[in-house]
Each structure stands twice: as structure tokens, then as C-alpha cells.
């Protein structure tokens, strides 16, 4: 790779331009623009690659939320500028761009990260550079770090409701299938814990690497175990084959399915209704929620990005919540100073967003928020129940950042108890 060099002529040009710029500055200053040095919001999301589908909508939501804030006059009288990098679903780019945002751009806040693996890759970088970080997706819970705020739902807010529903309606014996990385393993542990606490049992748990495409042996194993229900934490394009093969093997009518991730992507639009119907899920938000603020969010996104924005999910509202909660924190602190904003957020800030009332819990840096139980019915979500003000009890079981602000780890469920 060659490095750009500055020729003598180029240097002269640069000098002239700089001089002209310097001359022009006082005029700009007088018109008030120089005082409005924009606030920098760093965004790290996968706009392409394996997670591009989810990431694209999250990037659009980021732009939408910042546009709304700027229309309302910005923050502290200053406009907000997004500095976004496309991490292209690559861990290496996550760490590289995280360092650029933190050290070179010196952004005021980071909003981003999709998979748990990407979050764990960049979390220490922002801890070291003392850059405030918001992680805005539903995940396995347990992150306990004073510098990090997590706005998505965690298993104690969602998976427990799926398990409750399953125990009440389907039976006591479950079989768990999950993706073979930290999200799948920890979610499977929560599923097991909730099943046992509810008086049920787990007949077996299988983990699948993300490149597994053939689920015939898995489906045979499940059939041999004869469970009353199957709980899935399968992730990604290859794993979507499980649902197709499950349907093709005629299992759909025999053993009901619950899932902690199904429908977050575009499963509802691309799979047959017969494959998706009846799979019970629980998230912090659904595209088909009738509440006014929820409808307003969908309409606003469609006005900005086109009428085909029909596949929004909790990932997008959590991104929206992350930006809005941060804005509330900055307003309350009256400053962009990291410690002051953290203190403001820890004081229990809440706001009304598309998902209803969202409150930042100071002790865990997670949100108390509403969650909803729903299943697909002919490519639409049929809402079965709603659970207002769900407390992130999973993370709260081990994490208290008000008492121990120096904690910096991810807690995992204890299955011995």
C-alpha cells in the first residue's frame, strides 16, 4: 500500500486554502455556527455480511432517531452528528473501528454491536478509552460494566414467559436446540433453569455450529426423546433450515415450538405460513403492536425509508431507546462528561418510546420495560399477552453497579441452585 504524500504544489494549495479558511472563520463564528460544534455519536453496526439484514434496519433507526433529536433542537444547543462505520459482520473490523471511533474521532457516545461476540470484542476497548457505550439488542443478559448500558430484553424478561406459556399449555418435558456460541449456551442455561423452576424437565440439549445445514439427525434425536415441546435458540441463515426441515418432517403438528430468536430477522416474510405459524416467541416489541407510539415509530420509519419497512423488530426499537435514553441522560446531566451522564442515567431515567415506558435501572444498567408474547399467524404477529414493567431480574441477581461500580464482567446463570 502506498501512502499519500503531499507535493510541493499541493502544500501551497493547502496553505492557501487554510489561509482562506482562517480568514473566513470569524464570519462563520459571528453567524453562530462555530459555537455549535456537533456532538459525535459513534455507530458500529453490520450494514453488510451475515448480519447485514438486521444491521441495515438498525442503521436506519439510528439515522431516524438522531434526525428527530436534531429537529427538536439537538442536545445542549448543539446538533448531533453520526459517525458510522460498517463493521461488515467481521469481528476484526469491530475492534479496528472501535479503536478509531474512541481514539481518533473521540466520539461522545457509542451505540452499536449486534452479536454478543461483537459486544465482548469492543466492550474492553471503550472501557479503556472511557467512551460511554450503549448495546442495543436483545441478548443473554448478565453484562455488568459501569461504562455499558444495555437496552434490549434479557431472558428473565422474555424466555421465562415462553417457558411459562409452554409449561401451562404444552407440557412438562422440553428439548432444547441452540446455536453453538455464547448466546446459545447461556440462553439454553436460562431455558433449563426456568423449566426446572416451573416443575418441568429437559430431555436433552443440542448445540449446533452456525454452519450446520442438515438437521435430520437432530430431528430424529428429538423424536426419540419424545418431548412435549421444543425450545429453540437457533441463530442465522443456515439454522433457518431447521424450521423448514421440522415442517417437512411433519413435526409441526406433533410437537410445538418456542423460540428466543425466531422472527427477529425476516423469517415471517420469507418462510411459508405453515412453517412459521404457531411458533411462540417473546420480545420487547413487535411490528404489529397497536399502541399509538409504536404505530408512530413504524410510520416515521416508513416515511423516511420507504413503505417496504415492514420488518422492524425489537433490535430497532432498542436502538431507538438507546439513543433516546442517552439523550435524556445528557439533558439531565447538562453535560457530555461521561461520569456525569452515567450518574444521570443511574438516577433512574425513564421515557415513553415505541415499546411503552422504558426505565434505566441504575444498579444493572439494563432497562425495565414491557415485553410481549406473540406467535405468527399467516405472516402476521398475533399478540398473546403483554407483561408491563419487566425487571431485568437475571442481571440483577448478581450485578449491582451502584454498590460495586468497579465490577466489569458478564454473569452467567448459576444452574446448581
Amino acid at each position: 500500500m502506498t501512502h499519500p504524500t503531499i507535493s510541493r504544489r499541493g502544500a501551497l494549495k493547502l496553505g492557501t486554502a487554510a489561509a482562506a479558511g482562517a480568514l473566513a472563520t470569524p464570519f462563520l463564528g459571528r453567524s453562530g455556527l462555530a459555537a455549535e460544534e456537533p456532538i459525535k455519536l459513534g455507530s458500529l453496526l453490520d450494514g453488510s455480511g451475515a448480519l447485514g439484514l438486521e444491521g441495515k434496519r438498525m442503521i436506519e433507526t439510528t439515522e431516524y432517531a438522531v434526525e428527530l433529536l436534531n429537529k427538536a433542537g439537538g442536545l445542549l444547543g448543539r446538533p448531533i452528528k453520526i459517525i458510522a462505520y460498517d463493521t461488515q459482520s467481521s469481528m476484526q473490523l469491530y475492534t479496528q473501528y472501535a479503536q478509531q471511533l474512541a481514539l481518533k474521532e473521540k466520539v461522545d457516545v457509542i451505540q452499536g454491536g449486534i452479536t454478543s461476540a461483537s459486544r465482548e470484542a469492543i466492550r474492553p476497548i471503550f472501557g479503556r478509552s472511557k467512551t460511554l457505550y450503549f448495546y442495543n439488542t436483545q441478548y443473554e443478559g448478565g453484562v455488568c460494566d459501569r461504562n455499558v448500558f444495555c437496552t434490549g430484553t434479557t431472558p428473565a424478561q422474555t424466555v421465562n414467559h415462553i417457558v411459562d406459556y409452554a409449561l401451562k399449555t404444552w407440557g412438562k418435558k422440553a428439548y432444547i436446540v441452540a446455536a453453538d456460541y455464547n448466546y446459545g449456551h447461556i440462553t439454553a442455561s436460562w431455558m433449563t433453569k426456568f423449566m426446572k423452576e416451573g416443575g418441568g424437565s429437559v430431555a436433552g440439549t443440542d448445540f449446533f455450529p452456525l454452519d450446520v445445514t442438515n438437521f435430520s439427525s437432530a430431528i430424529s434425536r428429538i423424536q426419540q426423546a419424545q418431548p412435549d415441546l421444543v425450545l429453540s435458540a437457533l441463530v442465522g441463515a443456515n439454522h433457518s433450515g431447521f424450521y423448514r426441515q421440522w415442517d417437512a418432517a411433519g413435526m409441526k403438528g406433533r410437537i410445538p415450538l418456542g423460540s428466543s430468536v425466531f422472527g427477529l430477522g425476516d423469517e415471517l416474510t420469507t418462510m411459508d405460513a405453515s412453517t412459521t405459524n404457531g411458533i411462540v416467541t417473546c420480545y420487547g416489541w413487535y411490528n404489529d403492536l397497536p399502541d399509538a407510539r409504536s404505530v408512530e415509530f413504524v410510520k416515521g420509519m416508513q416515511a423516511k425509508f420507504g413503505a417496504d419497512v415492514t420488518d422492524l423488530s425489537e433490535l430497532d426499537t432498542a436502538t431507538y431507546d438507546g439513543i433516546m435514553l442517552w439523550a435524556e441522560g445528557v439533558k439531565k446531566a447538562g453535560s457530555l462528561d461521561r461520569d456525569k451522564v452515567i450518574a444521570a442515567l443511574e438516577s433512574g431515567i425513564s421515557y415513553e418510546g415505541p415499546t411503552g415506558k422504558v426505565t434505566m435501572d441504575g444498579a444493572t444498567h439494563h432497562t425495565t420495560r414491557s415485553t410481549y408474547l406473540a406467535r405468527p399467524k399467516d405472516k402476521k404477529w398475533e399478540i398473546l399477552a403483554s407483561f408491563p414493567d419487566q425487571f431485568p431480574a437475571d442481571t440483577a441477581g448478581a450485578c449491582d453497579l451502584l454498590k460495586n461500580p468497579k465490577t466489569n464482567k458478564q454473569f452467567t446463570p448459576d444452574l446448581k441452585g
Partner: protein
């Protein structure tokens, strides 16, 4: 073990073997006959799957969309790529690897920009049936039938037709074939298109039971390569035998343990096989077969 469970397992093993044979055959034809390591094989499959999606979205009969169009379309794409890229690189194994790798990246990018990074799907055209207490997919029978038809069709083509005779002659000794009035250039072109078409067929057949995305090829290609190398120089016999061996081990071990251990068992079997028979199964046995 209950007889119905054995039945289900046997059925799954059969389907696993057929899947492996199907995804391997196209690669085997191109590698076995032309000594070209086609790293774009997985992407040819992906194109086949997308052809099936596009055709069934356009309202075509699902069987035509799955079984007829994908091999034709992908075969044609293979033909164009052979004429524009591959033919300049014959005999340069490293260069063909690089070129086909580039093609694979290009195809992923192209399909992503057309369809977006979205998981697509085709509905399964047939239902399910029962083996005792267990449910099994009728579609697995379609896969078995397609694999058998592809193997049999290729056998008949190579053994009974004049084209097959010329093809085998060209592969054995291109100079001699050329001196007898055959144009090796044409034959290579046809072979590459044939291999690409078979990959397209595999993609089309597997479309209804997999998540179709631009990057789906990567999930198949390593197993296809292992099977080709395990099979050795005789394309049909080699592919058939290696698929049977690896498919059997993979399915059974996956059922008894987990899919991870199943893949490990497949790899261990492949390593042991290559250690004992460095030229693959047909490098030692059944050498004169097709």
C-alpha cells in the same frame, strides 16, 4: 432399539448419503476430469438455489423450478465463466484456484446486491410420512431420487454416448484426442458447464430444506471437497463410495452424539482414509471404473 427407530435412522442415513453425493458430483466432474479445483462450487449451488427461488416466485411449477431450470441456468453461467476466465488458465492449478475463488466472491457480491442479504426459501412440495411412531420427510425421498438420477444419468452419458467416449478420451490424453480430430477446447468447455449444471441441480434440489442466502455455499463446500478427495480419480464410483462412507459415519455419529462430533467423525474418517489410501478409494480399488 425399536424397529421403527432403526427404520427412521436408516432412512436418514440414506438421505444423508444422497445429499452428500448430490453436492459432490459437480465438483467431482470438474476436478476429476479437468484437474481444476473449483472454489466457486458452493456459489454455483447457491445460484441454483436462487434460480429455484426466482422461478417459483415467478409462478412456475415447483418441480420445473427445482429440477429443470437450476442445472440449465447454472450450466450456462458455468459455460460463460469457462469461456471468459477458466480457459486461459488450464494446467495452472494455483491460478485456477485463485480465479475460481475470485469468481465465488464476485458471485456472492452480485447476488447480495440483487437480492439483498436476506434468507429466502421455497416451500417443500411434498409432505411427510410415518415410520412407526416417527415422522419423516417425504422430501428426503426426492433428494435420494435426484441423486440416483444424477449418478445414473452421468453413467449413461459417459458410457453409452459418443460424447461420453470423446470426453473420456480427451481426459485421458488430450493431445491424442486432438490428433484424431477432437477439439479439446470444446470438450473442456462442455465438461465445465456439465459440472456447473450438476452443482446447480444440487442447489435447486436442496433449496426447499435450507436457508437460501448469498453466503450459503460455504456451508457445503468443505464436505464436498473432502468427499471428492476421498473418492479418488473415478468420478462416479469414487463419489458414490465416499458419500456412502462419510454420509453413514456422519449421520450415525450425529444421532448418537451431536452434529459437532458428527462432523469431527467425518473429518477423522477422511484423514484416516487419505492416510491409508492417498489417492482416494478409487486410487487403489476399482481403478478402471468410471
Amino acid at each position: 432399539m425399536a424397529p421403527d427407530l432403526i427404520g427412521l435412522l436408516g432412512f436418514n442415513v440414506l438421505a444423508g448419503i444422497a445429499t452428500l453425493a448430490l453436492i459432490t458430483l459437480g465438483l467431482g466432474v470438474i476436478y476429476g476430469m479437468m484437474r481444476i479445483i473449483n472454489l466457486a462450487h458452493g456459489e454455483f449451488m447457491m445460484l441454483g438455489a436462487y434460480t429455484a427461488v426466482a422461478a417459483s416466485d415467478a409462478g412456475l411449477n415447483i418441480w420445473v423450478a427445482m429440477l429443470v431450470l437450476p442445472p440449465l441456468v447454472v450450466g450456462l453461467i458455468g459455460l460463460v465463466l469457462e469461456r471468459t476466465v477458466i480457459r486461459f488458465l488450464y494446467g495452472r492449478m494455483m491460478d485456477t484456484m485463485l480465479a475460481t475463488w475470485g469468481i465465488s466472491l464476485g458471485l456472492i457480491g452480485l447476488v447480495t446486491s440483487i437480492y439483498g442479504n436476506v434468507v429466502r426459501g421455497v416451500s417443500t412440495p411434498v409432505g411427510s410420512f410415518e415410520i412407526g411412531r416417527y415422522g419423516a420427510s417425504l422430501y428426503s425421498l426426492v433428494i435420494v431420487a435426484a441423486a440416483c438420477a444424477a449418478l445414473a444419468g452421468l453413467y449413461l452419458l459417459l458410457r453409452l454416448t459418443k460424447f461420453g467416449l470423446i470426453l473420456r478420451a480427451t481426459m485421458q490424453n488430450p493431445r491424442m484426442a486432438a490428433s484424431l480430430g477432437v477439439s479439446p477446447d470444446r470438450i473442456y468447455m462442455a465438461t465445465f458447464a456439465l459440472g456447473a449444471g450438476l452443482a446447480g441441480l444440487a442447489g435447486g434440489v436442496l433449496a426447499p430444506i435450507s436457508g437460501i442466502s448469498p453466503a450459503m455455499g460455504a456451508a457445503y463446500i468443505s464436505r464436498a471437497f473432502i468427499t471428492v478427495l476421498g473418492g479418488g480419480p473415478a468420478i462416479l464410483t469414487g463419489t458414490g463410495l465416499a458419500s456412502t462412507l462419510f454420509g453413514f459415519i456422519n449421520e450415525l455419529v450425529s444421532f448418537k452424539t451431536t452434529p459437532v462430533i458428527g462432523d469431527v467423525a467425518l473429518l477423522v474418517a477422511a484423514v484416516l482414509l487419505i492416510r491409508v489410501l492417498p489417492q482416494g478409494i478409487t486410487g487403489r480399488y476399482l481403478r478402471r471404473s468410471l
